[in-house]
């Protein structure tokens, strides 16, 4: 069987249902209920539809490169104003939300909320591949697979990005769609399982009849409370106060000092060629303090790697290596790097007491990998939203599994 033929055969699906319109005209109902006046509905509807579709004001949801084309569309060469389209900065006065750009999981509740704040009648145009399907970010943990998993999209404009004329064409197609829907003449589409397989996102579209209503509810709930759960806002850190030593005129510049300290005071003699030396977890804060005194005044790196043990008796969930990097500040900057290895369930002592800059760097590792830092004053999520499940940079993170209502 051919995967795609035009036109394909299959079950006919109604694309558009009059009763499924999200709004109603109370006036029509009144006119229809009065016997003599029902003839007035058709011409009235014609006038109202004419007005409605000929003054489409845009609310620009421009998050990335497609937004540039959106701006160009309003400029001289294409001039959206020709068809009466102007850009409004508030959703209350807009008719069409143009989603132009990648929508991340963190952004999605905001988009949803802005969409909900637009007054009916309203439409949505997905402009460009990222808005339509998430593009090649669509399997990334932080990007939603198409804006139509969040809102009902009326017109999809292909392109990466589409050119400004594409947007104008999209608006015209929208006018066409509204007109066709009024006349009941929207083309019905044939179901083609192979095609659906190819384009199906990991979450049901908003308009999909099979969509679980609880997903929509969960999204609305999330849109309502998005900020309340976010942890990315800054708040005063009440951790140990750090006092900086007075700046020396010049950092000590003794070659091999780091190695000497390691070997002499910490008993680390094994120096691997292609990786930093490994330091005991119990003594690494002491090492940091010693190095700080020796002139390494800047913490440049807190990174972690996840090594899941797949087989054997020790089939535990995680094993981490945390890598630390220090720098001297001065004309000839030198670097000190070391690793700390953590057994399953173990945590590493925080460096916040020695370097204030360790705060957010350790929070990032906690957020993305789930490494715990003992004694950290404020170990919350830093980049992901507060209700996130799991740690996406772990090797065993289920990339295709739903971990938020948006995915």
């Amino acid at each position: 069987m051919a995967m795609s033929e035009d036109p394909p055969k299959g079950k006919r699906l109604p694309l558009y249902d009059e009763s499924a319109l999200p709004y109603e005209h109370p006036l029509y109902k009144t006119l229809l209920s009065v016997p003599g006046l029902s003839v007035a509905v058709a011409p009235l509807d014609m006038i109202l539809q004419w007005g409605m579709t000929n003054a489409l004001w845009i609310f620009p949801m421009a998050t990335s490169c497609c937004g540039i084309e959106l701006m160009a569309a309003a400029a001289s060469r294409v001039d959206l104003d020709r068809m009466g389209t102007i850009v409004r900065a508030t959703p209350r006065q807009a008719d069409v939300m143009v989603v132009a750009g990648t929508i991340t999981v963190k952004m999605a509740p905001r988009v949803k909320r802005l969409w909900d704040q637009m007054p009916e009648p309203k439409w949505c145009i997905a402009m460009g591949s990222c808005a339509i399907s998430g593009d090649f970010y669509r399997d990334l943990y932080s990007v939603i697979p198409g804006i139509d998993t969040v809102l009902p999209v009326d017109v999809y404009i292909p392109g990466c990005p589409p050119n400004p004329e594409g947007l104008m064409h999209g608006l015209m197609r929208l006018q066409e769609k509204v007109k066709l829907a009024r006349e009941g003449g929207l083309p019905t589409r044939e179901e083609n399982p192979a095609l659906l397989d190819l384009t199906r996102p990991s979450v049901m579209r908003f308009k999909d009849p099979a969509r679980d209503p609880s997903v929509t509810l969960a999204q609305e709930e999330a849109a309502l409370h998005a900020t309340a759960q976010d942890s990315s806002d800054e708040r005063p850190v009440d951790g140990p106060a750090v006092t900086f030593a007075p700046a020396e005129a010049r950092a000590p510049d003794v070659d091999g000092e780091f190695e000497a300290i390691l070997a002499g005071e910490f008993g680390v003699t094994e120096l691997p060629k292609d990786a930093p030396p490994i330091v005991e977890a119990a003594r690494h804060v002491e090492l940091a303090r010693r190095l700080r005194a020796a002139g390494y005044r800047q913490l440049v790196l807190v990174a972690a790697t996840h090594y899941p043990e797949k087989t054997g008796a020790k089939a535990q969930a995680e094993r981490f290596e945390v890598t630390y990097g220090l720098r001297t500040i001065g004309a000839r900057s030198r670097v000190a790097l070391w690793r700390v290895c953590l057994a399953p369930g173990e945590s590493v002592d925080t460096l916040v007491g020695v370097y204030a800059g360790a705060d957010w760097q350790e929070r990032e590792q906690f957020d993305l990998l789930g490494v715990t830092f003992a004694g950290h004053p404020d170990l919350r999520r830093l980049m992901l939203s507060g209700d996130w499940q799991g740690h996406p940079l772990r090797k065993d993170y289920p990339a295709d599994k739903a971990c938020a209502p948006w995915r």
């Binding site: 109202l48 007005g51 003054a55 001039d79 104003d81 020709r82 006065q93 007054p119 009916e120």
Partner: protein
């Protein structure tokens, strides 16, 4: 015909005329702005896009009505109506021709200043009732700006009052048609006073370059941020009517109103008003908006003393100018 009937008839006709002028004005603005930016403006809806404002209104009237949570509902609904009343109400004292004037008040100038000044009430009301930070900030800024520029406005208007010795707009125009237009002679208090009036009028109507209360890049849409559909339409309308009436009053105070050769007075008045109206758009689509502090500095450091100086010069002219020069 009783006075009430006279006012109502003039009101109905004048308001209908002003609304259609505003509709065509919006179309003209979009075409003109387009041309200035090397684009066409509306072309698709109606012949040359002429029906575009109509489509806008038909659409806006259909939009759902949203009142934000926590808003003061009564004031929220009242503000757009008040804005309409005050912006249209100023037109009552407009002398369209020697015998066409809705209400020939002997203190027309003061009425115009007072009712025009009342526009701060709906502006603040809308900003405060919306329960929205952008709207409130926009409202407070708009009120601060309006009252600040009220001072140069009053001073600029005082100049023709001193020169003609009348507070009635019709009286001022009559004096000009008997003697000379104030924008032309005496040049020194006349022309700068007109410039002062024009700037203060732009600021009162919140037009660029004085539109900081609704600067889109920082305050979304100012006081109208939370307004949808019909109420937004009224604000939109009030803004344009304010500008139109301001232009008409400028024409009456400084350019001799209905005075002019060959054509009937009404034609001259309309032509002068529209000319000033076009200049407003021209300025709007050319200049950038001023910063808040520049706005205030311009008003209090420059325009106010200049206004006072112009008033004194006008008084001196009346006192000391040779009789023939009047």
């Amino acid at each position: 015909m009783s006075a009430l009937g006279h006012g109502a008839l003039y009101g109905a006709v004048l308001i209908a005329v002003m609304l259609s002028t505003v509709a065509v004005g919006i179309w003209f603005e979009r075409k003109f702005a387009g041309r200035m930016q090397s684009r066409l403006g509306p072309t698709i809806v109606g012949p040359m896009g002429l029906l575009q404002p109509l489509a806008d209104v038909v659409k806006l009237l259909q939009k759902e009505d949203i009142i934000p949570a926590g808003a003061d509902r009564a004031l929220f609904n009242l503000a757009p109506v008040l804005a309409t009343i005050f912006s249209l109400g100023v037109a009552a004292v407009l002398p369209l021709s020697p015998h066409m004037i809705a209400a020939d008040l002997d203190i027309g100038v003061v009425y115009m200043l007072a009712v025009g000044g009342l526009m701060v009430v709906p502006t603040f009301m809308a900003g405060w009732a919306s329960n929205n930070k952008f709207a409130l900030l926009g409202g407070m800024r708009a009120v601060a700006q309006s009252i600040s520029y009220g001072v140069p406005l009053v001073l600029a208007v005082l100049v023709p009052v001193i020169l003609s010795g009348s507070l009635s707009l019709a009286g001022i125009v009559r004096w000009q048609s008997e003697h000379h237009w104030f924008a032309l002679w005496p040049v020194i208090p006349g022309l700068p006073a007109f410039a002062l009036y024009f700037m203060a009028m732009l600021a009162e109507a919140n037009r660029i370059p004085f539109d900081i209360p609704e600067a889109e890049s920082e305050l979304v849409a100012g006081v109208t941020t939370e307004y949808t559909g019909a109420k937004f339409t009224l604000f939109y309308l009030a803004e344009y009517v304010h500008t139109l009436v301001g232009s008409a009053i400028g024409a009456a105070l400084f350019f001799g109103g209905w005075d002019g050769p060959f054509a009937p007075g009404l034609h001259w008045m309309v032509a002068k008003t529209l000319a000033l109206f076009v200049v407003v758009y021209w300025v709007r689509w050319t200049l950038l908006r001023l910063r808040s502090d520049q706005l205030m500095e311009l008003c209090w450091k420059w325009l106010t003393p200049i206004g006072v100086a112009l008033v004194l010069i006008a008084a001196a002219w009346v006192q000391f100018a040779p009789q023939g020069a009047l």
